[in-house]
Symmetry: D2
Subunit: 318 residues, 4 copies
C-alpha cells in the first residue's frame, strides 16, 4: 500500500510517541522532510504549533523528525527493513555554517562543556543547489578559489526507531536505534536495517543533507529539505544490535558511541557477528578477512555520539 | 511536612513518569531503597508487579529506583536541593561481584560491545555488614589475607531527576540530570543540587552502596538496601548545568560523559562557573586557584557515562 | 644519482643513528625491505648480527627498518620529499595473524596493559601472493567461503625520519615524524612529505604490506618483503608539522595520536593550514569546504598511536 | 656514600645520555634542581652552555633535568629504588600561569594541534613562598577573595629513567619510565620504584612543584627550585612494568597514557599484579578488594600522556 503523508507534528526526540501513521510490512511511504532548523521546501519555517512541545520542558530544537511511524507486526527482537527508494531534493539552496562551539574543531562537549578558549566566529554559507546538474555551488569571498561546484549525494542525516530500554533520545544523538548518524550511506538505493526495541518500532527520520564530507567536520552539512520515498518491511524473529546498511557493493554496520574508538569497535564486532551468523564465516577467519578487506568510514564526529561505518564488500561474501 | 513513603513501583528509567508522591519545598521524605538487583531489607526480591514494565519493550533491570517525586514549584530553570539527612543500612549483608564483561578491566561498552577476548569468570562476593561496628567483612578464600574488614560509608549510587530535552534515561546511566553517578559524595550529610529540566523535577533515587573504592573498578560495589531520609527544597530562578554537591569541607561538581577526560573537563568548567557566579571570582584567577588547590575524584568508570567529581575546599571561599 | 643499497643493519628505532648512506637531493635509492618479523625475500630470517642491538637494553623487535639515510642539505625546518617510485613484492607469500592481545578488538594498550579477560587464541594465516595476477589468496578452513582472492595494493607500513626534540621512537609507533603509520596511502606513485626535525633527516622505512583493510583491525596486515625504489628531495625553508601525502587525486595529511579523535583533529587542522598557506584559502572558507568535500580514512587503530588520514581532492584546488 | 652534586648540564630528554655521576646502591645524593623554565634558587636563568643542546636539532625547553645518574649494578629487568629523603625549597617564590593553548581546558594536543577557537590570554602568577610557615600566598587582583594562602607540599614533578626499547623521551612526557608524571606522590618520605630498561638506569629528575591540585588543570603548578636529597638502591632480578610509589599509608602505581581511561586501567592492572606477586592475593579477590578500598588520584591531564595513580591502603595488606 502507498501512503502520501503530510506531517502535522515534527518531533525532536526518538521514542514511542503518538503514532503519526500506521504502516504495514510492504507499505510505501512518500513524505516531505524539513531541514535541520525546520525550514521547508519553500524556505518557510514550520509553525510553532507543528513542533513537538510541552509546557513542562524544552526540546533541543535541531533536526525536526517526521513520524513516528508505527510498523504493524514489528515486535521487540525483530528487525525493521527500510528501503530508501528516493530522496528528491525540493529546494534550490542548502545552508551550512561554521559553528562557534560545535563541531570537531571548536569543541563543545555533548553536555555543553565550553572550553575556556574564545569561540570561533559563527559563519553562515548558502549553497545553491542545482538538482538538474546534480551539483551544489558555493561562492567563496576570501579565497583564491572563488567558487566551488560539487556533486550532490543526498542522504537522510537522521533515521531511527524508539531506543532500547524505554529510553527517549534527542534528534541530535545517534545510537543503537539509528538516529542522527549523519552517514552518507543512508542514501537513495540503500536498505537500512534497524533493531526493533519497542513494539511498533516507531520509525522517524529527517535532516536531509545534500552533500557532506567524512565526519561532518564543522558540524553542519548542506542542510536542506526533500521528498523522501521509503518502503518498510519486517524480519520476524531476527534481532540485530546496531543499525546495518546494504547497497550494491557493501554490507555495512553503523556503530555510534564516544570515544570514537568505541564506535569503531562496535561497528567491527557487529560486522563479525553478521558475517558469522548470516554468511557462515568462522569467527577467527572473519576477523582475518575483515582485517584485510574491510573499509571503514568516519560518519560523524560532532554529535553527542560519534558514528563509524564498517564495510565489507559483497564480492567477498560466499 | 514529613512523609513516610512505601514504594509501589520501582522504575528503571529517569523521566517524567507517573508521580509517586508530590513533595513541597521543605518537605522531608523517609523511604526504603532496594539493592541494585531489587532485593529488599530482608533479602527478598521485589515482585514483578512492582517493577516498571511494559508489554511493548523491556527495561535494563539494574538499579530499581524509588520515585519519581514531583516537586511542587520546581520549574525548568530552577535548582532542586536535596539534603541527604540519613542513609541507614537495614540489611546484614551486601553483595558484590566481579563481572565477566562489565567494569573497567573486562570491557563491555555501553552498547554491549564485547571484545573478542574470552570473558573473565563471573564471581559473587558476600560482604557481612555490621552497622553497629560501622564495618563490612569479607572472607577471602584464596588469598594469604584471609579476611578483610573495612569501614562503611553508605551513599546513594543513584539520585537524579528527569533529563534535559524530553529525554528518558536508564537507571544505569549518569548524566547532567544526576542519575547513576556512583559517587561516594552523595552520602549522609551532603546537600545535592540538581538542575530542573522538567516542571516538577521528578526526583528518583536508589542503589545504595555500603562502601566503594574510587571508580568502582569491577563495576559492582557493596550493593545493599537502606532507609533513606531526604529533605527537598527549590532555588527559584537559578539554573545549574550539572549536579553539584556540598558538604562541610568542599563544594563539588559531578560531570558525567565519555571519554573520561570529558567528564574531567565538564566538572572543572562548571566549577569555575560556580566560583565566578556565586563567589565573585575572576574567571582567570579561579582557573589559577583551582589548578593549585582543586581535588578531583574518579567517581565511576564503568557506567555508560563516566563520572568525575571536581572539589574546591570551602576554606578558600571568600 | 642512483644507489643500490644493501642493508647491513636493520634498526628498531627511528632516530639519528649511524648513517647507512648519505643521499643528495634528487638521488634515487633502490633497496630491499624485510617483513615485520625480519624475514627476507627468500623467507630467511635476517641474522642477529644485522639487527640493531645493545648489550645494555633490548629493542621491541617488530618492523626492522632500512636506513637511516642522511639527506644532505636537509636542515631542521625544511621538508623532505620522498617519491615512492616502485614497491615490487619479491616473495610468493605474506603472513598475517590474529593476535592474542594486540589489535583493536583484543585490547592490549601501548604500555602492555592486559585486560583481565582471557586472551584470544593466536592464529597465523599464510596468504599466497601472485604479483603476476596482482592478487593474494587465502584458503579458509572453517568458513563456508573456502577461499578468498583479493587484489594487491602494496605499501610501506613504516616510513619516517628522526623525531622532533631529540626523541628516539620505536619502529612500532607512528608520530609527527611519520613512522609506523600503516597507511595504504604510502604506496607506489605517492609523494610523501616529512618534516625535518634533525639535520640530515635520517630517513628510514620498511614493513611492506601487500594489502590491508582500514584500521588494520587485527593488528597485522599481509606482511611481506619488497624491493623499494625511492627518490628524495628537499624543500628548503618550508616547515610542516605532520606527514603529508600527495597522489594524482588528493592531497593528504596523516595525523597520529591517541585517542583516535585527536588524530582526526590533528590531520584536519593541518589540512586547513595547508589549504591556507599553499592554496590561498581563507581559513573559515577552508573549514567549510573541507567539511563538505573532505575524505577521511582510518589508517591504523592498533599501534601506540592511531593514524587518521585527511584527504582533500585536488580537483577542488585553485 | 654521600654525594653533593652540582649539575653542569641540564637535560631536556630522558635517555642513556653521558653520565653525570655514577652512584652505587645505597648511595645518597644531594643536588639542586631548577624550575620548569630553568631558573635557579636565586631566580637566575641557567646559562645556555649548561643546557642540553645540539647543532642538529632543537629541544623542547621545559623541565631541565638533573642527571642522568648511572646506577651501578642496575641491569635491565631490575628495579631501581629511589627514596626521596628531602625536598627543601630554596627560593622565596614560585611562578605559575594560565596557558593560551596548553592545559586541560585550553586544548593543545601533544602534537601541537591547535583548535580553531581563539586561544585564552596567557597570564602569569607569582606565588610568594614561606617555607617557614609552610605556606604559599597569592594576591588576587580581580576577585572578591583578595588573597589566598595555601599549605606547601613540595614534590618532584619529574623523576625517571631511560625509557624502554631504546627510546628517548622529552622531559615533558611521562611514561612507563616515570618522567614528567607531575604527581604529588613523589614527595619527601616517598619511596619511588622505577623499572630498569637500560643498564645503569640513567636516573634524572627535576621540575619541583611547591604545591599543585589534582590534574594540574591549567598545565602549570607552583614552579620553583629546590635542594633535593635522594637515596638509591636496586632490587636485583625483580622487574616491574610501571613506576610504583610507597609511603606510610599506601602502595601506589602511576600509569601514564592517553586517553585518560587507559592510564586508569594501566595503574589498576599493575596494582593487581603487585598484590598478587608480592602479597599473595588471588587475582580475582584482589580485583574485588581493590574495587572496594582502592583510591585513585588524577595526577596530570595536561602532559603528552596523562597520569593516574592507583592506591591501595597498606592497612589491608597481609
Amino acid at each position: 500500500m502507498d501512503h502520501r503523508f503530510f506531517p502535522s507534528t515534527y518531533y525532536y526526540t526518538f521514542g514511542p510517541h503518538e503514532t503519526a501513521l500506521r504502516l504495514k510490512p510492504g507499505d510505501r511511504l512518500v513524505t516531505d522532510t524539513v531541514d535541520a532548523r525546520g525550514y521547508d521546501c519553500e524556505g518557510n519555517s514550520i509553525p510553532e504549533s507543528m513542533r513537538q512541545q510541552s509546557e513542562d520542558t524544552e526540546y533541543y530544537r535541531a533536526n525536526p523528525l517526521v513520524g513516528p511511524f508505527y510498523i504493524e507486526d514489528a515486535l521487540l527482537g525483530d528487525t525493521l527493513i527500510v528501503k530508501i527508494l528516493k530522496i528528491e531534493l525540493n529546494r534550490d539552496y542548502a545552508w551550512s555554517k561554521n559553528n562557534s562551539n560545535f563541531g570537531s574543531l571548536t569543541e563543545e562537549g555533548p553536555g555543553k562543556r565550553l572550553l575556556l578558549n574564545q569561540p570561533m566566529e559563527e559563519q553562515y554559507f548558502r549553497w545553491i543547489l542545482r538538482p538538474g546538474q546534480n551539483s551544489a555551488v558555493l561562492e567563496l569571498k576570501k579565497s583564491r578559489l572563488r567558487r566551488i561546484e560539487i556533486p550532490l549525494h543526498p542522504f537522510l542525516g537522521s533515521i531511527g526507531v524508539a531506543p532500547r530500554y524505554g529510553r527517549v533520545e534527542t534528534s541530535l544523538s545517534p545510537g543503537e536505534y539509528g538516529g542522527n548518524m549523519d552517514c552518507v550511506e543512508s542514501k537513495e538505493g540503500t536498505t537500512v536495517y534497524l533493531p526493533i526495541f519497542v513494539k511498533g518500532g516507531y520509525l522517524a527520520f529527517g535532516d536531509v543533507h545534500a552533500a557532506q564530507g567524512d565526519g561532518e567536520l564543522s558540524g553542519t552539512a548542506l542542510e536542506t529539505s526533500a521528498e523522501v520515498t521509503l518502503e518498510v518491511d519486517v524480519i520476524k524473529g531476527k534481532a540485530i544490535e546496531w543499525p546495518r546498511f546494504e547497497d550494491k557493493e557493501n554490507i555495512m554496520v553503523a556503530g555510534s558511541s564516544r570515544p570514537l574508538m568505541e564506535a569503531y569497535k562496535i561497528a567491527h564486532v557487529e560486522m563479525i557477528s553478521w558475517l558469522v551468523s548470516d554468511y557462515s564465516f568462522d569467527r577467527e577467519e572473519a576477523l582475518q578477512v575483515l582485517t584485510q578487506v574491510g573499509k571503514c568510514r568516519v560518519g560523524n564526529v560532532v554529535d553527542p555520539k560519534y558514528t563509524v561505518v564498517a564495510k565489507f564488500p559483497k564480492k567477498y561474501l560466499p
